[in-house]
C-alpha cells in the first residue's frame, strides 16, 4: 500500500518534471507556439475578411465569423500533432529518450509529461485565438459556463491528438518523415465541419466528414458557444456532444497503450 502510493507519487512528480521541461521550451523557444498559431490566425483573417462573406452565403450561415471560430479552435488542436511528433522524434534521434529510459523514473512519465505540457500549450493557443476572434467580432452567446465547457471539449480533443502525435514521433525516424505525416492532417482537418457545414459537401463525403472526430467537437462547441451552424439530422450530428466526449476517449484508448508499448519495448 505504502509502496504503491510512493510509486504513484513519484510517477506524478516525474510527469511534472518532464512537463516543466517542455513548457520551458515554449518560453525559451516560442517559435513552436507561433508555428502552430500561424495558420489559424491567418485563417481568422482570410476567412473572416476575404472568403467569409461568400462562403457564409453559400453555406447558408448568417454570421460566418461566429460559425468559423469553433472550427478554427478545433483545427488548431489538430495542428498541435505536428509539434508533438517533431519534439518526440528529435528527442529520439538525439538519444534523449534513451537517457530517459535508463533513468529509474516512472516509465511512462516522459510521455505523460509531454501530453500535459501539450494541453497547457493548447490553453495558450485557445487564448490567443479567442483574442483574435473577439477582435474581429466573434462572441459567445450562452454565458461563461457553456463557453468554458466548449473550451474543455476542445482541450479534451487536444489531449487525444497529443497521444497520436507521441505515437507517430516514436514510430517515424526523422523530422522530415514526421512532416509528411503532418501534411495528412490538413485534409483531415478540412473534411470536417470546420470551414463549411457538412451538408454542403457531396453526398458520399458528408458522412465521412460527420464521423470525423473533429466535427463532433466543432458541432458541440458551436452549440455551447451559441454560434450559428447547420446541423444535419444524421445520428452523429444530433449526438455531437456525446461524440465529442467519446471520440477522444476512443483515440486515447487506442494510442496511449500503443505509444507506451512502443516507448517501453526496447526493439527500436
Amino acid at each position: 500500500m505504502n509502496a504503491t502510493v510512493r510509486r504513484l507519487g513519484w510517477a506524478l512528480s516525474d510527469t511534472g518534471v518532464v512537463a516543466r521541461r517542455y513548457l520551458s521550451h515554449l518560453v525559451h523557444k516560442p517559435d513552436e507556439l507561433i508555428g502552430t498559431l500561424l495558420i489559424p490566425v491567418l485563417a481568422v483573417l482570410l476567412f473572416g475578411f476575404v472568403f467569409g462573406e461568400t462562403m457564409g452565403a453559400a453555406a447558408g450561415v448568417d454570421d460566418y465569423r461566429d460559425f468559423l471560430m469553433p472550427g478554427l479552435f478545433a483545427l488548431t488542436m489538430a495542428f498541435g500533432i505536428g509539434n508533438t511528433t517533431i519534439a518526440v522524434v528529435s528527442d529520439a534521434g538525439r538519444g534523449v529518450i534513451d537517457r530517459f529510459r535508463t533513468l529509474p523514473m516512472a516509465p511512462s512519465a516522459l510521455l505523460a509529461g509531454r501530453s500535459v505540457s501539450d494541453v497547457v500549450a493548447g490553453v495558450v493557443d485557445l487564448a490567443v485565438l479567442a483574442g483574435m476572434g473577439l477582435l474581429i467580432g466573434w462572441r459567445w452567446n450562452e454565458g461563461w459556463p457553456s463557453a468554458l465547457a466548449a473550451l474543455g471539449l476542445l482541450l479534451w480533443l487536444r489531449l487525444a491528438f497529443t497521444w497520436i502525435g507521441i505515437y507517430l514521433g516514436l514510430v517515424v525516424r526523422s523530422p522530415e518523415a514526421a512532416m509528411k505525416f503532418f501534411s495528412l492532417v490538413f485534409p483531415l482537418a478540412m473534411v470536417a465541419d470546420t470551414f463549411v457545414p457538412t451538408s454542403s459537401m457531396p453526398g458520399w463525403l458528408a458522412p465521412l466528414a460527420e464521423w470525423n472526430p473533429l466535427s463532433a467537437t466543432v458541432v458541440a462547441a458551436r452549440d455551447l458557444f451559441g454560434s450559428p451552424g447547420v446541423v444535419s439530422d444524421s445520428w452523429v450530428a444530433q449526438n455531437a456532444l456525446l461524440m465529442a466526449l467519446v471520440w477522444p476517449l476512443v483515440l486515447l484508448a487506442v494510442f496511449v497503450p500503443l505509444a507506451v508499448h512502443r516507448y517501453r519495448s526496447a526493439a527500436r
Binding site: 538519444g95 534513451d98 535508463t102 529509474p104 526496447a266
Partner: protein
C-alpha cells in the same frame, strides 16, 4: 552484492538480431569486466559495439544469453540496474533549449532527488566539470567538448557504479577529446567502473586497462592494450624514397636496422618496417638512411591503425567479411 574480485559486468552468450537486419548484431557476445577498471570495446562501425552497450544498459531486449550488471540481472531487474548505471550515448542526450544547470536539475529530479538536493548536486557537478560559468547558457550554444562533459555529468547524478560510454569522443577536436579523457580517468580514480566503446586504437590505449576487440557481434581478442599492440606489431616507420630505383636499397637498410617483417611497395616507392614507439629508433633509421646516401622524400612514424589491428588479428581488413 558482488565481491570485488567478481565481474561487475558479466555478459554470457548474448545474441540479438534486429527484425530489420539479416545478420545478427550480437552473435554470442561474452564479456567480463572487473570492478574499478576501464574496459574498452574496440571495433569498426557495425561491429555490434553499440548494440552490446545498449543491451547491457537495459535498452535492448536480447534474444538469448544473460547479462548481469552490478549484481543485478539486466532482463529481470532492469529498474535496479538503472539505479546503478549511467549511460552516455553517441549523441549528447541533453535538452538543447535549457541551460546546463536546468538540464542537470531535471535529470537529478528524475533520479528522485528532492528539489533542494537536486539543485545542490547540479551545482556540484557543474563545478567539477568546469561548466559553472556556462550554467545558464542554453546547451545549443555549448561547444562539442562542453556538451560531452555535461552529458557525462548527467550520467553521474547518483555516482553510478558502472558507467557506459558509447564512443565518447567521436567527432570531437583533440582538445575536447583530452578533456573527456581527463574526466574519465578522474571517474575511475573515484571508483567507477567504465565500459567504453571506441573506434580509435589510441583511445583504447590511453584509457583502458583491458581492451576487447569486437567484430561481427562477438569478442575476437581481449587483453591489456600493451599485449594487443605487441600482437599487432606496434608502430612502424614509413620511408618514401625519391628515386624509384633505390626502393630495394632502402628496404635493405631498414631490414638491417629494424628487422622483419618489411612491407615494400615499389609503386609508391615506400618501405615500411616495425619500430618501437620511441623517437630514438626513428633517429637511428634516419642516420642509417643518410649513411647509405639515400635521398628520402618522406619519413614518418605510424602507429598501428584499427585497420591494422584487424588485419593482424583476423587476417582481413575491417568490413571485409560483411554482407
Amino acid at each position: 552484492m558482488t565481491g570485488t574480485t567478481e565481474a561487475v559486468i558479466l555478459a554470457e552468450g548474448v545474441r540479438k538480431t534486429y527484425p530489420s537486419r539479416s545478420r545478427p548484431s550480437l552473435d554470442g557476445f561474452d564479456l567480463a569486466v572487473r570492478p574499478g577498471t576501464v574496459h574498452a570495446l574496440l571495433g569498426p562501425n557495425g561491429a555490434g559495439k553499440t548494440t552490446a552497450v545498449r543491451a547491457m544498459a537495459t535498452l535492448v531486449r536480447f534474444d538469448a544469453g544473460r547479462v548481469r550488471v552490478a549484481g543485478c540481472d539486466v532482463a529481470s531487474e532492469s529498474r535496479r540496474v538503472r539505479e546503478r548505471i549511467g549511460l552516455t550515448g553517441q549523441y549528447a542526450a541533453l535538452d538543447e533549449v535549457l541551460g546546463g544547470r536546468r538540464n542537470l536539475e531535471m535529470f537529478a529530479r528524475l533520479h528522485h532527488l528532492r528539489p533542494g538536493a537536486a539543485r545542490a548536486r547540479a551545482a556540484e557537478l557543474l563545478e567539477r566539470f568546469g561548466l559553472a560559468d556556462a550554467a545558464e547558457r542554453p546547451v545549443r550554444q555549448y561547444s562539442g567538448g562542453m556538451r560531452r562533459r555535461l552529458d557525462l555529468a548527467a550520467s553521474l547524478i547518483l555516482d553510478p557504479r558502472v558507467l557506459f560510454l558509447d564512443e565518447p569522443t567521436t567527432g570531437l577536436d583533440p582538445r575536447s577529446r583530452a578533456e573527456v579523457w581527463r574526466a574519465v580517468r578522474d571517474l575511475v580514480d573515484r571508483g567507477t567502473t567504465v565500459l567504453l566503446t571506441t573506434q580509435y586504437l589510441e583511445e583504447a590505449d590511453r584509457l583502458a586497462d583491458t581492451v576487447s576487440v569486437v567484430e561481427a557481434g562477438r569478442v575476437i581478442a581481449e587483453g591489456p592494450p600493451e599485449e594487443l599492440k605487441r600482437r599487432v606489431g606496434g608502430s612502424r616507420v614509413e620511408v618514401v624514397v625519391a628515386d624509384p630505383s633505390e626502393v630495394d636499397k632502402a628496404a635493405e637498410v631498414l631490414g638491417r636496422v629494424c628487422g622483419a617483417p618489411l612491407d615494400v611497395d615499389p609503386d609508391t616507392q615506400t618501405v615500411r618496417a616495425p619500430v618501437g614507439g620511441r623517437g630514438s629508433e626513428l633517429a637511428k633509421v634516419v642516420r642509417a638512411l643518410d649513411e647509405a646516401g639515400l635521398e628520402v622524400e618522406d619519413i614518418a612514424l605510424r602507429r598501428p591503425s584499427l585497420d591494422e589491428v584487424f588485419l593482424s588479428l583476423t587476417g582481413r581488413r575491417t568490413g571485409e567479411g560483411e554482407g
